[in-house]
């Protein structure tokens, strides 16, 4: 049982004081300032006055920005979807693997996760760009094919046109899936690992196939884990900055890129502040929705 703080006031203050102080000063205060800015106005170059206006929020729901919000949510949703599709079989394989293989498979998933995000993004650029490895390999195959065609007396194929793989929405989604896949696999694994295996065996014994067992037993039972995986993938994908910035084209801007521009280039801090709080509210809505969904399930069962 926890001790009441009154029984050891000095220990309590000594232990909680420093972290709480740090949290307030270097996290909550900065957020509060941004929140205050979101109701402010630019006066002059560096002065911002707190006028209590809602103008910044009104601007953030103009069609131009609303479209960026919708697009970011859409991109994050597609990313999450592909992460589930790719990650679920992996989590399943890890769950039912023998202990030794389990360790190695988890390591396989976690090692890229520990690798620097920038390096991973850079590696993708090297693979996808016009002179990248994919286009080089395709070009080589194309030339071989062309040579083969002339050999059998056909017209040679035209010059190889490299695929545009980089600087578009495809690259952004690919990059986000690449980066976030481990975020999905780990919660899925820990949910599947908690399943009662006898239920699965019973289903298989009673004649259901593997796919049916999966759809009717495994997925419903591990739904809370799937939901938390969805949340853990969706939130960082929604606020992604680096991936759309480096892999995206002019039309693949996401919310974070707009926010960055307001603070670093356009120098419109109040509007940037409003945008970043809109993003925070979206995040909190996603968390609350997940909480509600899992609570509803608990009540039902």
């Amino acid at each position: 049982m926890e001790q009441s703080w009154k029984q050891a006031k000095a220990v309590f203050a000594g232990a909680l004081g420093p972290p709480l102080f740090w949290l307030v000063l270097f996290f909550l205060v900065p957020l509060a300032i941004v929140w205050a800015y979101s109701f402010g106005q630019n006066v002059g170059l560096t002065e911002i006055s707190f006028t209590g206006t809602f103008e910044n929020y009104a601007r953030s729901i103009e069609p131009l920005y609303l479209k960026i919000f919708a697009k970011s949510a859409w991109v994050a949703a597609i990313t999450t979807f592909f992460c589930i599709v790719l990650g679920f079989p992996v989590a399943l394989a890890i769950t039912f693997a023998p202990a030794r293989a389990k360790t190695w498979l988890l390591l396989l998933i976690m090692l890229p996760f520990w690798t620097n995000l920038l390096i991973r993004t850079y590696a993708l650029i090297a693979v996808l760009r016009t002179e990248g490895y994919i286009n080089q390999s395709l070009g080589w195959l194309w030339n071989q094919g062309s040579g083969l065609a002339t050999l059998v007396g056909l017209q040679p194929l035209g010059a190889f046109t490299p695929l545009e793989l980089l600087h578009n929405n495809f690259a952004v989604i690919l990059g986000l899936v690449y980066v976030h896949l481990p975020f999905m696999v780990l919660p899925l694994y820990s949910a599947l690992d908690r399943l009662d295996r006898s239920l699965l065996e019973a289903s298989l014994d009673l004649g259901a196939g593997h796919l049916r067992t999966l759809a009717l037993i495994v997925v419903p039972l591990s739904l809370p884990g799937i939901l938390s995986g969805v949340l853990i993938t969706f939130i960082p994908a929604l606020g992604a900055y680096l991936t759309p910035d480096l892999l995206g084209g002019p039309d693949s801007q996401m919310i974070a890129n707009v926010i960055e521009r307001q603070f670093k280039r356009a120098n419109d801090w109040p509007f940037g502040a409003a945008m970043s709080f809109m993003l925070m509210y979206l995040t909190f809505i996603a968390i609350a929705a997940q909480g509600l969904l899992s609570r509803k399930r608990e009540v039902r069962s």
């Binding site: 926890e2 001790q3 009441s4 703080w5 050891a8 000095a10 909680l16 420093p18 972290p19 740090w22 949290l23 270097f26 205060v29 900065p30 957020l31 300032i33 941004v34 800015y37 790719l86 079989p89 992996v90 394989a93 039912f96 202990a99 293989a101 389990k102 360790t103 988890l106 390591l107 396989l108 998933i109 090692l111 520990w114 690798t115 995000l117 390096i119 850079y122 590696a123 650029i125 090297a126 760009r129 002179e131 990248g132 080089q136 896949l181 780990l186 820990s190 298989l204 939130i235 929604l238 606020g239 900055y241 680096l242 480096l246 974070a256 926010i259 603070f263 970043s276 995040t283 968390i287």
Partner: protein, 288 residues
């Protein structure tokens, strides 16, 4: 079906031994590793254009190691990671201890506030700290190294110590409170009990938390991007500016060094804590 295949037929739940799943795993592994491995292989390629294999060379490593600004960025990153990890472990352990041991009014609020840095989007935290260090606490320019990294270190501590607190608190759940009482009955002071009974129990989680904080700090780009000045460039920020211009073998070489470092760190971490299944699942962590 041959006799051998029959003997080795997979059990009903041995999904790993079924070929569709194996093929899927192989595909995911290629997806995750092919870009990183090509990056590492081509850092040894003797060609500026970086595409077709021209022969083995170490010249890009030489170039990267002689690139002073790159080395400076690398040293900055490691320094920031080390210092912010040290502070984060102390603050995280204190927070975990206080939240584990005491009940006090406003505890749910403190709990929630501690979780905020984990869930708030990086970009929001980045701009908040940018504003904070621009308006409230302008970090003095031109301080001697490593004091000039102060703003970045503070920011990194802010996002990593709550992670440490989570890890340590999970570990404290397995602590037997009677041990604490026994120590006190035997005459140990409050401080002595914490030092000799509670902290040793935290042990593995302090290591795990420190590794987490170190990696988070080394990996961070967005928040550093908003809090770093022109003279305080970290490795990710430096690579970012290099990548914006072009893809060069030098970046490949520098990245390879960092990847190898990551692999070594991970290996050390696993050595220290046993298998990752024990640290990632909530179970199996209770061995003394």
């Amino acid at each position: 079906m041959s006799a051998r295949a029959k003997r080795e037929a997979p059990g009903p739940l041995e999904y790993l031994r079924r070929w569709p799943l194996r093929a899927w795993l192989a595909m995911v592994a290629v997806f995750l590793y092919a870009p990183l491995i090509t990056l590492m292989v081509f850092s040894f390629n003797d060609s500026r254009r970086n595409i077709v294999w021209q022969g083995f060379t170490l010249k890009y490593y030489e170039k990267a190691l002689n690139n002073d600004s790159l080395i400076q960025a690398f040293v900055n990153s490691l320094t920031i990671a080390a210092l912010s990890t040290a502070i984060s472990v102390v603050l995280g352990a204190m927070a975990a201890f206080a939240l584990w041991r005491f009940r006090f009014p406003g505890k749910p609020a403190v709990d929630g506030a501690m979780a905020l840095p984990i869930v708030v989007p990086e970009i929001c935290m980045g701009v908040a700290l940018l504003v904070f260090f621009a308006k409230v606490l302008p970090w003095p320019q031109g301080l001697p190294w490593p004091l000039d990294l102060g703003a970045i270190i503070i920011s990194h501590v802010s996002f990593s110590f709550p992670f440490v607190a989570v890890v340590v608190r999970a570990r404290m759940a397995s602590f037997n409170r009677e041990l604490e009482e026994a120590a006190k009955d035997l005459g140990a002071s409050e401080w002595r009990t914490i030092r000799d009974v509670v902290v040793p129990h935290m042990g593995p989680s302090l290591v795990a938390g420190a590794l987490l904080a170190f990696t988070l700090s080394l990996d961070d780009f967005v928040i550093t991007f908003f809090t770093s000045g022109p003279d305080t460039v970290t490795f990710p920020v430096k690579v970012y500016s290099m990548v914006r211009f072009s893809v060069t073998p030098e970046v490949n070489a520098a990245s390879t060094i960092l990847i190898v470092l990551t692999v070594i760190l991970t290996a050390v971490a696993l050595r220290l804590q046993g298998d990752p299944a024990a640290t990632h699942g909530a179970h199996g962590a209770d061995k003394p």
